[in-house]
Amino acid sequence: MKLELQGISKAFGSFYANQDIDLTVEDGQIHCLLGENGAGKSTLMNVLYGLYEPTAGHILVDGKPVVFRGPGDAMAAGVGMVHQHFMLVPVFTVAENVALGAEATRGAGLLDLEVTRQRIREISAKYGFHVDPDALVEDLPVGVQQRVEIIKALVRDAKVLILDEPTAVLTPQETDELLDIMRQLKAAGTSIVFISHKLREVKAVSDVITVIRRGRVVGEAPPSAPPADLAAMMVGRPVSLTMDKAAAQPGESTFEVEDLTVTAPNGTKAVDGLSFRIARGEILAVAGVQGNGQTELTEAILGLQPHVSGSVRLEGRELLGRSVKEILRSGVGFVPEDRTVDGLVGSLSVAENLVLDLYDREPYARGLAMRPAEVRANAARRVEEFDIRTPSPEAAAGTLSGGNQQKVVMARELSRPLKLFIASQPTRGVDVGSIEFLHRRIVAERDGGTPVLIVSTELDEVHALADRIAVLYKGRLVGIVPAGTPREVLGLMMAGVTPDRAEAAATAREDALEDNGSDYDGGAL
């Protein structure tokens, strides 16, 4: 199926997220969209999928103009979409999620899930998915959830499949598998629109690349184009793709975790006998696929997890068993992985969020009374220092853009004397400029002599920040490796392979991997 977008514009109020965009996706083509945060990629795809009505422009399917009044129309026309944020009902089973909206019934509206299960099994067999139709989606790892999303599209006979940042949450291995699947789909005649920030993948799989900047198409490029050129096209200026920082000057180890075990509510050990140390002036980055115990590890250190055993000592003081407040007071800075859930109170002002864990201390409070003037003064300082783009410090934090929300959290946590700094996904969803800034702040904190624990699923970020890298798999420590460890090795470790075996396997794989995929190692874009 050939899909054409002609002169598409989409305005939100007076702001144009897409302006006069032309895009043609040929039959059986993998068409890649590149662009920085907020460039308008998702908006364009939402228009294509019938979720947004375009302000101007047409969509043509096989040369004929079509109007999509809703996703139903788009699906009927053969367009399927896997959203950036998964559109799965967590409490439904895989089969229920797949059936939803296109249910097979046995008269009288009775669901016939068996039909759906059968289809899921067929598709799973064809593409090598391992998906249990009766598993609850909320119990599944993200990689599998993503396959469910793809199955949803395939079940509806999608001829054009939109994949919006499908690899953001996957391990390198899972990513490779997904790329394989995409090639198979392409071979079967499905067109794919693929959105990703990771140039390595884009180059590996796409037939043609379109770059979007500030809502406009700025050019097309072949997959063979050098990464630096692509990055420059996206951002509109030359970009340095590597982070340079001075070598660490580790001091004594003041943060020690010993045999830490966290039992999840369902009885599984989310963190299983973990031991490591971090020295002053050192960054330990924890890599691993989401859901392998990173969340529980950081939350256990902060005292947020109920069933914990082992020992966590900071400067010789045991932290386990203390309240969150005591732990924060003892000098732990904490950036949670999901800022909107755990980091910010969206309806409170930026100023209030900047003292969210300091509100009852001098100078922001005296006794029971808070001191609004101090809170305001602090806000003015931090907004300035961290370049937080907000209409005013009194604006509700929830109205800021994602990157700026993240800066609020970081500003708060980095604005007091720390003895330990923990940050999960410190730059998730943040644009290049801000990433650079936040990374520099983290490194500065390290250089000030604070032990730093970073958790990130982005290998690029791990590489950029880490002095040492720890890899978690199913709650266990697979190993701690030095900073320069190649991503292939890390990828295998993230799948549970021990460091030495991973190294061996990675060397073997590298030879098999396609052309220029491995010479490009950095690239925060």
Partner: protein, 428 residues
Amino acid sequence: MSAAAPAATAPATASAAPVSWKVPATLSVLAAVALVVFGLFGSAQTAEFGISVSGDAFALPPVRVPGMATSLVLGVVMAALAAYSVRLKLAGRPTPGWAGPVFAVLFVFSFLVWVVASARTPSISLAGLIAGAVTLAVPLVFGSLSGVLCERSGVVNIAIEGQLLGGAFSAAIIASVTDSPALGLVAAALAGALVSMVLAAFSIRYLVNQIIVGVVLNVLVSGLTGFLFTTVMQEDPELFNSPGRLPIIEVPVLSAIPILGPILFKQSVVGYLMYAAVILVWVGLFKTRWGLRLRAVGEHPKAADTLGIKVNATRFWNVTLGGAIAGIGGSFFTLVAIDSFTKEISGGRGFIALAALIFGRWNPIGAFFAALLFGFADNLQAILTIIGTPVPSQFMAMMPYLVTVFAVAGLVGRSRPPAAEGIPYVKG
């Protein structure tokens, strides 16, 4: 194809769950109470339980049990269960699912034997107790089913009370004017649906906080029915407030089965509708396309939207349907229980229904049993005051409410509402 594809299933390293002391501790305390209070300090009188009411086909003789001895035996069994639960806990394993209900039944039985044996007239009709529990539960069940439909589709329904009251009023006035209780039933459903439509319109179309709308609708319906009662119905009760009653329909033979017969096969249309509604809503919610979509818009409206499901329309019509169901429940007051309307005839039962729905974890069957538990406790306290307990009547009247608090705090605990409940869906 990647050669190293790991099996992509959930990591399921089963190991020692963090079993809490809650269940073993609760069971132990209850077993001790049963043994000591019901057993050792129980009355030695013989307790008599009637299991047939006159009219049953095969009238069974009442069951008589010695008070103290029975309670002691039951107490020992409960203590054993509690000990088992404690042992499992010590071994780091949870108490099996069957233990709770079994224990509850034993406890209730032991309690019954104890109170009956120590009453002035140590004899109660078990059949009557249970039949009455169902009767008292009827409006609660309808009310909580309405709540299930609304909240499962994402709209908080505090207006159950108003829906019941509106249903009761319309049933009375329409049945009176048309001389047809059946039409009254239809009118009740329509009135409930109308209340619901206001709830839906304000919360979906105008994005008004759903709790505000619910609370206000209760007041509105109360005021409106009160006003019309005074100005219209009271002016000519013959014409406007004598709806006649829906007949009790007995299924021959089956209705004569002891205990079960009267509750299952000797009901008014509304009573049968209740069972039908519970089953239909359950099947509908979990086994049909309609239910799948309904639950989807209540859990993740955006996902439903991306699959071409009209979120707000789905919500609107299901909230309306819920109102219709509650309206039918309201007709119970004026077409079944008695045959006239008075102000506030629903007497706060909408709020109990709300509690039952949460207690029943947003599940029709759960809500049904929660309502039944409430009806049981309520009827039991009534019967106990009749056979004469030394406990002051006001404390007996508290029983159903205290039982609910105990059940919710002690046994049920945290429950998970539909994820998108209370949050209006705005596209884009």
